[in-house]
Point group: C2
């Protein structure tokens, strides 16, 4: 039996190789008529898709991989879904890989995405800079980073919310509504966005002539540990806390509850502002003020940048900083 | 140049073909020493992974696809993450595809997963029965269904929470705390789990000799539409509502807020119970009672069933029904 190539299939169907590829991958735009024609030829010839990861990549697979640390996190799932929507409209499938902040897992998923021949990669968040340290084909896959510094800044685009601005504005909002001694509540884990938020908080204190000390103005707490309530209680009893900027809404939500249990009133005794503007912020008691990230713009910039890099490797743009906005609710009035 | 096969690589490395496959896919267990040895041989021979989707599947790709309608939904993301954890420990990568309840998208992702050569497929939820209608290679990929009826019950395993039991117990809890006229609040969208919850509600009324009518006991409302507040307000003003079983927590959460705005007290005037036990249930005011699904057990049963079907095609088990439990909080006291 003659072995048919994708070129043969294209010729016999009277369409381009790109169209055959799109039909095979069911990606991109083609008519039902074209689909039937190509599939008929494939059936008649017994054509088997036979490709190496590399050649598949050169032909384009119309699939994009996303590495995300935690799909149960509202911000991450929101951005990922919006990216998926845009990519699908452009004819790309999205492969979502959940790395659970685990380096070994990230390495495994990178290898898998390479072996599946994705056209590009979107890397969201993570503790360290991102690079292709684990794989054998460095820089082979075009990629862009959201909320994570790339190691090799010349080969990619770095996209993030203006976390610094969000933290700065939230902290100034606390100060302007009378807080003399604002505190930042954060987890011990470091991320590029976390560092920016920390810096924004510190600079807002500085600008308003409030002395900063790690002991009095920084509350490190992990909401997933058992001693979280004691850590909060101890910190609030030992320090003159009247305002808290929580580095994310999960921490802020826990604070609302724990502070109420300590007999303090929010916002009268202590004002609280979170980060991410999760849907549940409007259901808590009191409702939670929070910094809102513009996930529509982040998703659009991510897809736009990645497709540009895929089309013209080497042509990378500057880092893209997306503005954020403060949503004021009862907890900081 | 001689063309090397995976068998040649295995021979030259002194390991099995399965080990070479695991190293290439960076999946499963192997030592760092083995990895280096195999990669050295691959580099020296210039071996290119060259496989068709079919043969790759026969060699096993150690990857599993998941079709999920909405990763921003708490229950879905929780189950998906738990499945991913178990699969990764067993040496499998998980490819998550977000279908946004869109049939065209589901078809495209099914095609993509086939072309990427996944070993198996987990299908979560969806309006219709699941079958391989869209693809050319029916039944080629072993699959199991969670919360979605498979078309061909003999080739798969159907796993779900006992939605009927959860709805029945929630409704009886309302009745036992004094509700004379319980209502089910649900969206217009139909799903297999939604139908079961509806039946559980109706049967609880029947058992307790409460007459059921679609007009008085069923509140159809979509929280994403603008007229949601009016729909709620009209229904509550026109009917003697004293208890609501909401088919999910998103609806329940909106009800808590809208009912309070109508000047009614929860739980004194109207008791509310939701479904899914989302993390935010404990932050709302009042805190929300809800039916909890056992996502640990669902994930474990899903992986276990799928790997059995992959290992022994044709040997499928009975449907698996996972018990649920009612978590009582302030909203139904």
């Amino acid at each position: 039996m003659k072995k048919y190539s994708i070129k043969d299939i294209a010729k016999l169907s009277g369409v381009s190789v790109a169209t055959v590829s799109r039909v095979i991958n069911n990606n991109g735009r083609f008519s039902e008529e074209t689909r039937k024609k190509v599939l008929k030829v494939i059936d008649e010839t017994g054509y088997q898709m036979n490709y190496s990861a590399k050649s598949l990549r050169m032909n384009k697979s119309f699939s994009i991989g996303i590495l995300v640390p935690d799909i149960s996190n509202y911000f991450f799932s929101d951005v990922v879904q919006k990216i998926e929507e845009i990519l699908f409209d452009k004819g790309y499938s999205t492969i979502i890989c959940n790395t659970t902040r685990n380096n070994e897992k990230e390495a495994a998923y990178l290898q898998m995405l390479e072996s599946k021949g994705v056209d590009g990669l979107i890397v969201i968040s993570g503790a360290n800079e991102f690079g292709f340290d684990y794989t054998r084909s460095e820089k082979d896959i075009p990629y862009i980073c959201i909320d994570r510094e790339p190691k090799d800044k010349d080969s990619t685009v770095f996209i993030s919310s203006n976390h610094y601005q969000g933290a700065f504005e939230a902290t100034e909002a606390l100060i302007h509504s009378g807080c003399k001694s604002p505190v930042i509540a954060m987890h011990a884990r470091r991320s590029s966005s976390g560092k920016e938020r920390y810096n924004g908080f510190k600079d807002a204190l500085k600008k308003n002539n409030i002395a900063f000390s790690k002991e009095k103005n920084v509350l490190i707490a992990d909401i997933h540990t058992e001693d979280f309530p004691e850590v909060i209680s101890k910190f609030i009893n030992e320090n003159p806390v009247d305002g808290i900027f929580a580095i994310n809404d999960s921490i802020a939500m826990e604070l609302l509850q724990k502070i109420a249990k300590l007999g303090k009133k929010i916002p009268e005794d202590i004002k609280v502002i979170g980060f991410d503007n999760m849907p549940q912020d409007k259901y808590s008691s009191p409702t939670l003020s929070s910094v809102k990230q513009d996930t529509d713009k982040i998703a659009a910039a991510a897809v736009d940048s990645l497709l540009k890099i895929i089309a013209s490797p080497g042509e990378t743009g500057d880092a893209i900083l997306i503005p954020v906005s403060l949503v004021v609710r009862e907890s900081s009035l």
